[in-house]
Amino acid sequence: MMCLPLFALIGGLVVYPFVYSIYLSMLSRDMHRFIGLFNYQYLLTSDTFHLVIFQSVLFAVTAVFFKALIGFILAHVMHNIRGRDQRLWRGLLLVPWVIPPALSTLGWWWMIAGSYSAINWLLTAAGMQPVAWLALTGWARFWVIVVNVWFGAPFFMIMYLATLKSVPEQLYEAAAIDGATGIQKIRYVSLPLLQNVISITVLFSLIVTFANFDIVEILTAGAPANSTQVFATYAFQVGIGAGNIPMGSAVSLFIFPILAIFAIFILRGVNRRTREAI
């Protein structure tokens, strides 16, 4: 009885929307006819959707990898800065994460889009040709990932820094006496002790990055030629933009099995390490 509000909350905010979107994805475009798995079948044979899957995986995996890598390096740098300086730098490095991404992405857009953007102005000033950063597939993909990494790396940094602070200093001292160099201390002490946090943050970030909408939508809106389109922007384009809500639902539901595969592998590792009493 005491758990009823919780069940109601989960039922209303999780189960109902999920089941309803599955139901929606099985309707015809006019939403009057039940067509079973036709929308999924159509998507699986669509070249555009293949591109969306490729781009989503490329975007999420690359961005999460660099967010984790940069966060890990920054956390170690922060950990080795002492006293007030650490608080100052930590605060400054968290700024990208606390600015609403829609605003910061707009800032990035001003820096890179068009012939008169800040970066192109610099290139021109240096005697080089301006580049149509967001009109070229490779560069557009590059910048979408860069902005996502810029926005997300501070979260990784703060998670890793918090864990590093809980690692007893004497483990590093013991390693130093055992003969470890700085890199070996990271390899044999920090990394194994951060492994669970790394796994959980990577999984969390994969979920958020796969579902990312605002950065891609503001920066490129999927252009050029759908080459930066990810699940969320494509679902928006198909569902809201083109008015095919059932197809949009089907697109967004495709994230689920892909994330489930990542989640199974990552959580299996976390459980194994927890069982081994790390």
């Binding site: 483990l171 001292e173 013991a174 130093a176 006496i177 055992d178 790390i278």
Partner: protein
């Protein structure tokens, strides 16, 4: 194995706090030296400077004939056992012990031989596959020692290794550490705040206070011939009693110490010449609790004196009974027989063995 030499070593922390104030210490090859003192006396800082975990603000540290001031810990060929063991939680016992050897690229069979040998010495052969979390405090302590032993370093450093163990296990592990040293004979520097640990383990004890060395000596030296009031009070449990008193000339050419208007204690003949120069001065009389015991007239010997005590607290310990009382407001403890008739609020006649007395100059703090 190697000798360790600490020469005029100073440690000043940020903010100007001077933790170690120019100490000198020579530790011989194969010697077991214990640094002991209260919290903040600089003993751990000294050990960490020997290990290379703290930078030295001044002076020199030599290990095995080389100055190691600027040598990183990994190149000093030392091994250290930490208070909280500092075992790598994600590695098995075997891997913990083998880690230092693996980093030094020892062959696998040599690593296994060394780990097995250390495990045999420490009786942890059955624990090699376990993770540290699955070990008891005593077992973890053994693994930490094993990690040090396998390296066969020039010097072992122990930083309060028994502080996290319960009293019973601490006594057991103390014996184990002594046994290990008797087996491997590696030069050892051991830090503790527990003077019993220091006395039982050390070839020589270094007593530190406020960043300086108060006295260096064998446990017996420190116990029977303390150089300062601090050492006299720090070494020995329960601590030495200090009674303020005036040295006076007694009738017949003798010397007495007047500890209160009614109590005159005769200085034994053997010490009269030494103490004569302090005639008329206010001094501190130092007497250990074991040199204050139940008074039995027939057992009185030359150099013994009688003192009556108004008993405050009686602590039966089984093999002895501690009797606490006051002499002119100064708390005093006597070690009496288990059958002592002492009872709170009653007068107990005590015998003082002044052949073992110490006279301390309160101005300099030196035992004279």
């Amino acid at each position: 194995m190697a000798e360790v030499s600490v020469r005029k070593v100073v440690k000043v922390y940020e903010g100007g706090v001077q933790a170690v104030k120019g100490i000198d210490l020579e530790i011989a090859d194969q010697e077991f030296v214990v640094l002991v003192g209260p919290s903040g006396c600089g003993k751990s800082t000294t050990l960490r400077m020997i290990a290379g975990l703290e930078e030295i603000s001044g002076g020199e540290i030599w290990i095995g004939g080389d100055v190691v001031n600027d040598v990183p810990p990994r190149d000093r060929d030392i091994a250290m056992v930490f208070q909280n063991y500092a075992l790598y939680p994600h590695m098995s016992v075997f891997d913990n012990m083998a880690f230092g050897l693996k980093l030094r690229k020892f062959p696998k069979d040599e690593i296994k031989r060394r780990v097995d040998e250390a495990a045999r010495i420490l009786d942890i052969g059955t624990l090699l596959d376990r993770k540290p979390k699955a070990l008891s405090g005593g077992q973890r302590q053994r693994v930490a020692m094993g990690r040090a032993i396998v390296r066969n370093p020039k010097v072992f450093l122990f930083d309060e290794p028994l502080s996290n163990l319960d009293a019973k296990l601490r006594v057991q592990m103390r014996t184990e550490i002594k046994k290990v040293h008797q087996t491997v004979r590696t030069t050892t520097v051991y830090v503790t705040h527990d003077q019993i640990e220091a006395m039982t383990l050390a070839d020589r004890v270094v007593v530190m206070n406020h960043g300086v060395i108060e006295q260096v000596g064998t446990p017996n030296d420190l116990y029977h011939h303390p150089a300062t009031r601090f050492v006299a009070g720090f070494i020995g449990s329960p601590a030495m009693n200090f009674l303020p008193g005036r040295v006076e000339e007694a009738a017949g050419g003798g010397l007495t110490v007047r500890v209160n208007p009614a109590t005159l204690l005769n200085v034994p003949e053997a010490r009269r010449a030494r103490y004569a120069v302090f005639k008329g001065k206010d001094m501190l009389l130092g007497v250990r609790p074991e040199h204050m015991f139940d008074y039995h007239e027939p057992d009185m010997k030359p150099g013994f004196a009688r003192m009556d005590a108004m008993v405050d607290v009686v602590e039966p310990m089984g093999m002895e009974t501690m009797v606490h009382f006051f002499v002119d407001g100064t708390p005093v403890c006597a070690r009496c027989e288990p059958s002592t008739p002492a009872a709170p609020g009653q007068v107990l006649p005590l015998a003082l063995d002044l052949n073992n007395m110490h006279l301390i100059d309160p101005a300099s703090g030196l035992v004279v």
